[in-house]
């Protein structure tokens, strides 16, 4: 993975060097502001991308860094979405506090679930995440009075942010709000993965048996990162509920869990920017192709997945990074 280092360096220095901001990153986040000026008609799509990217980052934390393969993470996205939606329907539409509560709720559930997740591995792990996701979906469907069942949750009203900025039809406020939350959570995740905790997670991913041997509390680490990831997924779901004012059962669906993993793989796991890049490619391609014919979309995404797995195991971003490394 990493190139051999000639002189021994302090691990703290290594971490500090990893967490330095590169000009590419600053350019990237400035470019994220461009839709305001260049593509104002695409602002709703841009906020969708920001929400999905946040969700993808949450999955990257557990899948890309800690190596927990999940096919049921939409569970936390949907829990956050329903929580934010339901408190708004019940009369509390203040967005920021509502969002924080949604994230906290998903995080608590995530912490509880993490005790189950850390018990199993391999196929059983995939099946338990899948089963829990489907379970939550069926539960939301059965709790018709609370969630609206298949009709979706109606009557969400989100108040203006800080009492000032109303959610407009064009999506200016919506995109600014989602982008701000995405950026803050990105900073948090970036800090997290470039810390000693992040290194411990990578160790667990690489060899789950050796970490306890060197005295790391691997199950505790996994539980913590799972709860954090669930909370971020809940924030993403809450954002979706607040910016679109609807929550439907599809926010909990298996398709959403699978899509987010696909986005992550396209971009590249174990890199936070991979999650964002993959989301952009996936959603823009879907927006363009599905307009022509939804079947092309399925064919295209299936083929793309196969090609990426066979020829770019580290995703598109990993592929690009390798080309850059080679040309140096």
């Amino acid at each position: 993975m990493t190139t051999p280092i000639a002189a021994p360096i302090e691990s703290r220095d290594w971490l500090r060097r990893r967490s330095r901001w590169s000009p590419f990153e600053i350019m990237f986040w400035l470019a994220a502001l461009l839709p305001f000026i260049l593509l104002p008609t695409y602002l709703p799509l841009a906020s969708q991308i920001a929400i999905a990217a946040l969700f993808a980052i949450s999955v990257d934390l557990i899948l890309g860094y800690a190596g927990i393969v999940t096919l049921g993470h939409a569970m936390f996205f949907g829990l956050g979405a329903y929580f934010a939606g339901i408190i708004s329907v019940r009369g509390w539409g203040e967005p920021i506090s509502g969002l924080l509560m949604a994230g906290l709720f998903a995080g608590i559930i995530g912490y509880v679930v993490s005790f189950l997740i850390t018990r199993v591995q391999h196929l059983a792990l995939i099946m338990v995440t899948l089963g829990l996701g489907l379970l939550t979906y069926e539960l939301a469907n059965a709790l018709h009075d609370l969630t609206g069942g298949t009709d979706g949750l109606r009557g969400i009203r989100t108040w203006p942010i800080l009492g000032q900025f109303k959610f407009d039809l064009w999506g200016y406020t919506g995109y600014a709000y989602t982008l701000a939350v995405l950026f803050l959570c990105f900073l948090l995740s970036r800090r997290l993965v470039n810390s000693s905790f992040g290194l411990a997670l990578r160790g667990i991913r690489e060899n789950v048996k050796r970490m306890p041997a060197i005295g790391a509390d691997h199950k505790g680490h996994l539980r913590l990162v799972y709860a954090i990831s669930a909370a971020i997924a809940g924030l993403a779901g809450g954002l979706m509920a607040q910016t679109t004012n609807t929550v439907a059962l599809d926010s909990l669906s298996f398709e959403r869990s699978a899509d987010v993993v696909v986005m992550l793989i396209l971009g590249g796991t174990g890199r936070l920017y991979g999650a964002i890049l993959g989301t952009i490619i996936f959603l823009v391609a879907r927006d363009q192709l599905a307009g022509i014919n939804p079947q092309y979309w399925y064919f295209g995404i299936g083929l793309l997945l196969m090609v990426v797995v066979l020829f770019m195991p580290k995703g598109i971003l990993g592929f690009l990074a390798r080309i850059v490394d080679r040309s140096k």
């Binding site: 018990r119 196929l123 299936g302 083929l303 997945l305 797995v309 195991p313």
Partner: protein, 287 residues
């Protein structure tokens, strides 16, 4: 009440036998190569389409269409296994999952392109239609037919696995792949044969399932969760485990939907998670 229970058990067992045919191949190949093939249900789907097409276009009878589905899928699977899946045996489970999800997507798109999105119907011969009354309960003849076919195949599989040379090789490869290889067994060849047999059975199951669950391009996805549950609950590499898992799931699914339609599927998933937490290797898994 007794008659209701009898009919639920009967229908559930028949559904379970369909699930068994659809998933037994995956269980054995997974146990051997640890290759997670989520596209297994797609072979079932194409098996269904083959049966429908040969009956409609060539006018073959139903009983001739079933082996056609088996053979076509066995051949197709050899092609795909040799050209694509072979590259992924050493890859991580995530890559296998994603690659085969990609295959399911492409298969669904291809099926839509060729056959359209409409639900396909299969015309059963008259002797398979209707039902017989037995002790005041009406049992569907077609479902009884499925049970008979599945039981015959189970008997053949168990006999083949226990008594033939290939069966011994398969058991050796499932028990310890590296050891078997060290003893000079060509595991890749054994695997290719097993894979073809398993996909053929999935094709047969798909053809039999058209009448019960319908057939459309989303069949691969619909069945995916069921197949995975059977495999993970039954335990990898075990025919009896798959059989018991499939029968349990089939009966549980039909009973849940019949007696508690609101929360039937909820109970199934709850049971799945509970079983896997207590026994991560499935009810009959050894490793």
């Amino acid at each position: 009440m007794i008659s209701q229970i009898a009919i639920v058990l009967f229908d559930g067992f028949a559904f379970g036998m369909l699930l068994f045919l659809l998933s037994v191949g995956l269980s054995v190949t997974l146990g051997m190569m640890n290759f997670i093939n989520l596209a297994h249900g797609a072979f079932g789907m194409f098996g269904g389409y083959v049966a429908v097409t040969v009956m409609r276009q060539l006018g073959l009878p139903f009983l001739a269409a079933l082996p056609m589905a088996f053979i076509a899928m066995a051949l197709l699977s050899v092609l795909i296994e040799r050209s694509l899946f072979r590259r992924l045996y050493k890859a991580g489970e995530l890559n296998q999952v994603l690659f085969t999800i990609g295959v399911v997507f492409v298969a669904a798109a291809a099926a839509t392109f060729i056959f359209g999105t409409v639900q396909q119907v299969i015309i059963l011969p008259s002797w398979l239609r209707g039902s017989v009354e037995f002790g005041g309960v009406r049992f569907g003849i077609y479902r009884a037919f499925i049970i008979v076919v599945a039981l015959i195949i189970t008997a053949l599989l168990v006999f083949g696995l226990e008594r033939t040379r290939l069966g011994a090789q398969i058991r050796a490869a499932v028990d310890n792949q590296r050891m078997a290889q060290g003893l000079g067994l060509d595991v890749e060849r054994v695997f290719a044969i097993t894979f073809a047999l398993g996909c053929g059975l999935a094709g047969l199951g798909g053809a039999l399932a058209v009448e019960i669950v319908g057939l459309s391009p989303s069949f691969g996805f619909q069945m995916l969760v069921y197949v995975l549950i059977v495999v993970s609950v039954g335990g990898l590499g075990s025919i009896t485990g798959s059989f018991a898992g499939a029968a349990l799931l089939g009966i549980g699914d039909v009973a849940g939907k019949y007696f508690w339609p609101e929360i039937g599927s909820f109970l199934i998933y709850l049971l799945l998670v509970a079983i896997l937490l207590v026994r991560p290797l499935g009810l009959f898994g050894k490793r």
